[in-house]
């Protein structure tokens, strides 16, 4: 235990203890990810299938005009790369949500929740851990995409990092919020149908919004108000060293809102843990 001379907060924990807790949760999440190799492979295969097959097929069908942040005509593969990066994070966020439901059913979640550190901080650590895992996946995707001639400016690999962290936090917080409302693991299929697919398809991940507007003004507005659209655009601009301020504001606000919602839902006096003891317990 740290020395008592170390500065402590109101609850009696030092900064070092908070950092130790964060490290421990990130380390455990990374270990679980490493142990689940198939999860890593499927996380990579999914966007690569979109890139190698879907994008190749649609290249001839869907023309992309010059739109910011691009300064010239681009291949369709280049256009959808940021959307696929965000898709990795979307799936990872929902996967984390799934693992929280699983942990809750198996009882592992209790280990986390009976820690004396503040619960909001424990959830935040869990969120950071999930985001860190998603970053590994995104950069592995970018590495493979580079061989497919999707090569943003070298500095883009660095400038995109803050955008990826923010979008990862937003999608992870959304997953956490959703997990608080799922009673059983079996209900998770609904998340695929009602969250992941609508969020992904009603966004600018696969087609620019002006194209959507031409086809359906209503869908255009749905896409415009979809936070995932802004995660995609934030990543797209950051990959070229630019900032989309509107997307930055939307993603920041949504991250805060989802996180507050998740903390509220995991509060002992309300949300999921109010409903009853784990299966079989009385």
């Amino acid at each position: 235990m740290s020395s008592t001379t170390v500065k402590q907060d109101r609850s009696g924990f030092s900064l070092a203890q908070y950092v130790t807790c964060l490290n421990g949760i990130v380390w455990r999440e990374a270990l679980r990810f490493v142990h689940q190799r198939e999860r890593f492979v499927s996380a990579l295969v999914r966007p690569l299938v979109w890139l190698f097959i879907f994008a190749a097929g649609f290249r001839q069908v869907l023309g992309i005009s010059i739109i910011p942040p691009y300064e010239t005509y681009i291949l369709y593969e280049v256009y959808i790369a940021p959307g696929l990066m965000a898709m990795i994070q979307l799936f990872n966020g929902m996967q984390s949500s799934l693992s929280m439901v699983y942990d809750r059913e198996m009882g592992n979640m209790r280990t986390l929740l009976v820690s004396p550190l503040p619960r909001w901080y424990l959830l935040f650590c869990k969120l950071v851990a999930g985001t860190a895992v998603s970053l590994l996946q995104v950069y592995a995707f970018l590495l493979i995409a580079w061989f497919w001639d999707i090569a943003p400016p070298p500095i883009g690999y660095l400038t995109v990092l803050p955008a990826l962290i923010l979008s990862g936090l937003m999608l992870g917080a959304l997953g956490m919020l959703i997990s608080s409302g799922i009673k059983q693991l079996e209900n998770f299929a609904g998340v695929m149908n009602f969250v992941i697919f609508p969020m992904f398809f009603a966004s600018s991940a696969l087609y620019p919004l002006w194209r959507v507007q031409e086809g359906s003004p209503l869908l255009y507005y749905v896409c415009l108000f979809n936070p995932f659209t802004h995660a995609v655009e934030l990543i797209r601009f950051a990959l070229y060293g630019q900032t989309n301020w509107i997307s930055l504001a939307v993603v920041s606000c949504c991250t805060a809102a989802f996180m507050i919602g998740a903390i509220y839902a995991y509060d002992p006096s309300r949300g999921l843990i109010r409903r009853g003891p784990a299966g079989g317990e009385t």
Binding site: M1, A16, Q17, W27, R110, T111, P116, P118, G280, T282
Partner: protein
């Protein structure tokens, strides 16, 4: 060091600073606690205390409300009515201070099966803000004590049921709590494993002065010198020394006392002769 010379954890938890005489402050104090799931009442005005360095058995049938009570004490559920404090720290007002003094073994297994024995312990230590070097030292210490030092690198899923339970107890003690809650910790274990675990926990009381609340529905896990709380349908029917409760009810053992109070028999964990 203990009376037997065995190494012990230093009882050096954070500042617990009892406001009065430490001996007067119960390890666990539960006052007027009620809890409902919708319209179904799980606990009704439950009150009792667990003294430091004592073994208190919480006896009740399945469905009596034991796990609900544990969930309230560990702050998994919010308290709807009443007050719970651990060494004087109100669990609702200062949860961090209260939870750091508490070790808990839940009825359902909460170990991560895909991680190794040591990794599970280190994860728990991190959740209590214990630095890695210190955590490794404590981990080696507890594993040696529970006889699992040679399994430190094994995946938890490769352990037997009894070993997993011992590991859960070791994990609950890693941050050096002063109060230990065990919710039906011997369920599903064979007689020898049950006896080992019960013996180990009783040793913690005598050697380390830890207060223990042992929830069970098996009356043969209760000894004459224990404190006993009988919980039935969410209500405390009796609380006190085993011998006194037996005498008060006019029974001749825990089972008959339980029967007289509730109208039903508790179970024995031993096979029928």
């Amino acid at each position: 060091m203990t009376a037997t010379g065995a190494p012990t954890f230093d009882p050096a938890p954070p500042d617990t600073s009892p406001r009065n005489d430490p001996a007067e402050i119960p390890a666990l104090s539960i006052g007027g606690v009620s809890h409902s799931y919708g319209t179904r009442r799980a606990l009704a005005d439950v009150s009792f205390a667990v003294a430091p360095a004592s073994f208190t058995a919480l006896l009740g049938l399945n469905g009596a409300g034991k796990s609900t009570l544990f969930a309230l004490v560990t702050r998994l559920f919010g308290i709807q009515a009443g007050r719970i404090s651990i060494f004087g720290h109100d669990i609702s007002l200062v949860p961090g201070e209260a939870l750091r003094l508490l070790g808990v073994v839940f009825q359902s297994r909460t170990l991560d099966l895909d991680l190794s024995v040591t990794q599970n312990l280190l994860y728990h230590a991190a959740l209590h803000g214990i630095a890695k070097r210190e955590a490794r030292m404590r981990s080696d210490e507890v594993l040696a004590r529970i006889g699992l030092a040679d399994r430190a690198g094994s995946k938890v899923r490769d352990l037997s049921g009894g070993q997993m339970r011992r590991l859960e107890i070791a994990r609950a003690l890693l941050h050096r709590p002063r109060l230990l809650l065990l919710d039906e910790a011997t369920v599903g274990l064979d007689i020898k494993a049950r006896a080992d675990i019960l013996g180990h926990v009783r040793q913690l009381v005598t050697e380390q002065g830890i207060g223990v609340l042992w929830a069970t529905h098996l009356f043969d896990e209760i000894m004459p010198g224990d404190d006993l709380v009988i919980l039935h349908q969410g209500q405390v029917l009796a609380h006190g020394e085993v011998a006194r409760i037996i005498a008060d009810t006019g029974g001749h053992d825990v089972n008959s006392a339980f029967m007289r109070l509730t109208g039903v028999a508790a179970e024995t964990g031993s096979p029928a002769p």
